[in-house]
């Protein structure tokens, strides 16, 4: 028998969390599917459940300096349309799931679900996002790539919950988000990519690339990125294939019921080189 808790304040939620170590539900769009049961039977939760989606204290989007703070309770639909939301994140949400799901699901939920195919994750990696965790013991700021450890695995403690996600509000010269799914809506990614590049006077100032569904976690490699920084467009022009090769060694997708490893890998590299070629074209 599991108990369900429906706190009316964030403070109360943190206390309940500390006492009962429950499963946290905001929108429930992943959990309700995962815990599905034979019709008419209660869902298959094996721990107490704490509802947090109703907490107004978590329903905010703020800009502080160049950073955007998105509260854990904001639905994807609200994030998508908000004027503070970076374009890349809006782009990812627009083609995510279906309107019904977007009206329930939260960004924090997508993060803590830690699926390698999580649609917003490549964007959050590229935007150097920080996950803000809170418990009665205090607040921790954890970069997204340290927060997610593997499929469904995070470093969150039993008495902690996500308070907000902080992401960079910086605007880039060139950016792209692409998701490849089995169909044009309501699909789990076969692969997804998010890439940005800043160019000033023909020199690369900034380059970041994150790839979803091609490994146990989103793949982003700072060492490879740094190889491009400071290089000229002419260099970029000559090294498109080479850059593809840098990534080939770290992109290790699997075969599953949704796609093949071969396709995922080739398509990811194609999207990367296409992005770079596109920049040459428009720079």
């Amino acid at each position: 028998m599991v108990n369900t808790y429906y706190p009316t304040s964030y403070e109360e939620a943190l206390e309940l969390l500390n006492t009962h170590k429950p499963t946290i539900i905001a929108g429930g769009t992943d959990l309700m599917v995962r815990k599905r049961a034979w019709s008419d039977l209660p869902t298959g939760f094996d721990q107490d459940v704490l509802f947090v989606g109703q907490l107004e204290e978590l329903n905010y989007i703020d800009r502080q300096g160049t950073n955007i703070h998105i509260g854990a309770g904001v639905t994807l639909e609200d994030i998508m349309d908000h004027f503070h939301t970076p374009t890349l994140l809006s782009d990812a949400i627009k083609i995510m799931a279906s309107p019904a799901i977007r009206h329930r699901a939260t960004l924090a939920g997508n993060v803590v679900n830690a699926s390698p195919a999580g649609d917003t994750l490549p964007v959050l990696y590229v935007l150097d996002s920080v996950v803000v965790l809170e418990s009665l013991d205090g607040i921790r700021h954890v970069p997204i790539d340290s927060f997610i450890k593997g499929p469904g695995k995070t470093i969150i403690n039993h008495n902690e919950m996500i308070k907000e996600i902080i992401l960079s509000g910086h605007k880039f010269n060139h950016s792209v988000y692409r998701k490849v799914g089995g169909r044009k809506a309501d699909a789990i990614s076969k692969l997804s990519v998010c890439m940005i590049m800043d160019i000033k006077k023909g020199i690369i100032q900034n380059f970041r690339a994150a790839f979803g569904a091609v490994g146990p976690t989103v793949v982003r490699d700072l060492a490879i990125e740094s190889k491009l920084i400071g290089k000229s467009l002419a260099w970029l022009d000559e090294n498109v294939e080479e850059i593809g090769k840098y990534y080939e060694s770290i992109i290790k997708p699997i075969d599953d019921q949704r796609s093949s490893a071969t396709y995922r890998k080739a398509c990811t590299i194609n999207l990367l080189t296409d992005f770079i070629k596109h920049i040459k074209h428009h720079a």
Binding site: W38, S39, D40, L41, S98, R178, V180, G182, R183, K184, A185, D186, A187, I188, Q257, R258, S259, S260, T262, Y263, A266, C267, N270, L271, D274
Partner: protein, 705 residues
Amino acid sequence: MVLDISKSINKVDNFEKITGTAKYIDDIKPEGCLYARTLRATIPCGRIVSRHYPDMPEGYAIVDHQDITGQNFVKIIFEDMPVFVEETVNYYGEPILLVVGEDKATIVSLMNQISIQYETYEPVYDYVDSKIHKSYIKGQGEAVFDKAYKVIEHTYETGYQEHVYIEPQGVIALYEPDKVSLLGSIQCPYYVKNALMNVLGCNEEEVRVEQATTGGAFGGKEEFPSLIACQAVVASKKMKRPIKLIYGREEDMAYTTKRHPAKIKIEAAISKDHEIIGLRTHVGLDGGAYIGLSGVVLLRAMIAATGAYTINHLHITGDVYITNTVPTGAFRGFGAPQMIFAVEMMMHHIAKELNEDPSTLRMKYLAKTGDVTSTSGHFIEPIIMEKMIQRAMEISDFEHKIKKHKHERINKDSHKGVYKGIGMSWFLHGCGFTGSGEQVHIKAVVRLKKDELNRVHILVAATDMGQGVKTTFRKLIAHKLNIPIEQVIFENPDTDKVPDSGPTVASRTMMIVGGLLAKAADQLKHQWNDQKEVMVEERYKQPEHIKWDDETLQGDAYPAYSWGINIVEVEVDPVTFEVTLQGVWSVYDVGKAIDEQVILGQADGGLLQGISYGMLEVMENKDGRVQQKTVTDYIIPTAKDTVFMETELMDNPYALGPYGAKGAGELTLIGGAPAVALAIENAIGKHVTRIPVVPEYIMELMKNG
């Protein structure tokens, strides 16, 4: 006042469907009802060595093969598929027993306490164990290959397709001391009734079958429901209580019938002056663990071996292979979609290899009125395909687009832009049962009853499963008798009230059953008496000019054919190989639409189902287990995946159909896969030989093809 019957009216069930008041099978909750859940085999092939059942609490029971009072097989055609496994297991998930009781949580916990020990055998997944072999020839058969200047050969492969009807399979068995009633989400009440009499070993008065409002079937509720209906009534007899057996979506996708995967090898004998002088074709169907309807599916596929064309010499063979996988079965099109895909691709591949324009080559062989069919019957009814093709090409701007896309491919580095392509399929569909099915096996009977209030009751076993027959039959009778449609009554069929007018399959409902109803209406008109109840009856009689030989497969396989053209335009992303539909155009000859909107509904739905069969819907077996068994992993199109579909209907009334109507339901699916596959082939310039043409396959073609 005589209105054109095609002019649309509101579907009679719009209100209850839109407001959600329609009662589907799971909405029905009889008093004292027990739930049932299926325990399934966890090996693909082998035998049960021992079973350990827990002690059952009061009111709970295990129902297995020992509870069957009649025969332990599902009566369809062959006596091969058991209702419950006795010993031999032939596929992963085969039903062994039901656990029944009042509380679902208790049922689940009891199921966890059951243990079954198996001895496993080596499973078969390849096309090696043929259980049905058929063949026929036309003209000189394969002898013409001796005269061939060259032979072009291709093998085409098609995959599973899952129905994904609105509500999963479900039945409720109701118990009375001397009668069992079965409510179900079903297409064919009398198929179910016959199966129930067989499993209970009882006579026909002891069984009643009634259709519950059915939200979709696509063939999936043709033969499969007989299995769970048998299980539910056996349980109901044992418990003397109503039993509800409803599948969850995942259970439904993993363990119910699907479209047969096929391998079709076509060889074309080509003369020195580039004439196609003959075809030698072999169709292999994966029947899964039991034959079921596979032989009949095979026959329809084989008869469609020349598609919409006339080829003079044929040698056509086919096999149903049994494998240790979930049984395959009826699905809208019934073997034709596989074959029409293969034929349409083959005609293009022949043209390409002979360096000829595909449209010109195809036009040369297009079937014409009076031509000899593949099975040496005749196309007796007028064929208006030339007119239809012309119209389809006009509305889609086909020729201009072919030229434009070709020009763009030649003059641009296509890696920078998208690949654009357009494809066109031509096809036909034989209406009604294949061969002598209507005359020998079905023998349809229909009745009309006029009551004292001058209401006319339609008494047929035809089921509305979304295709609109509740509307079109009532409209048909109202028109015939010139009475308001409100005066015509058509309830969900109940075998205690309606005669056996045959199953609701094979695009036969309007043409055959509707045809009989129209004749019955004429009779009723003559006998009409305002004061009295009048009952009239009509029985199916094969038209005299239709001859068919079941042994040699020679003659008129169908009394009439519906025809269609589909044109699909696509863009293929050169980076990800994703395919996006740009335009879809169709022209159909269904004789005469009894309701235009109903046919347009069939056209949009059927074609989208056909297109997605050709480009989206992947279902695979691994170690005998279906890998894509949720709506998350089995991809059917959403509204975002489709485009506006332009459809035109051309009247070509069939003398023996009501107001000239022929079959329509299946026709609209058949051309979708070849049209989209040809569009993709046109865009990427490679030979497509299998469906679905998913991005993974396109990438493979771009690399190696």
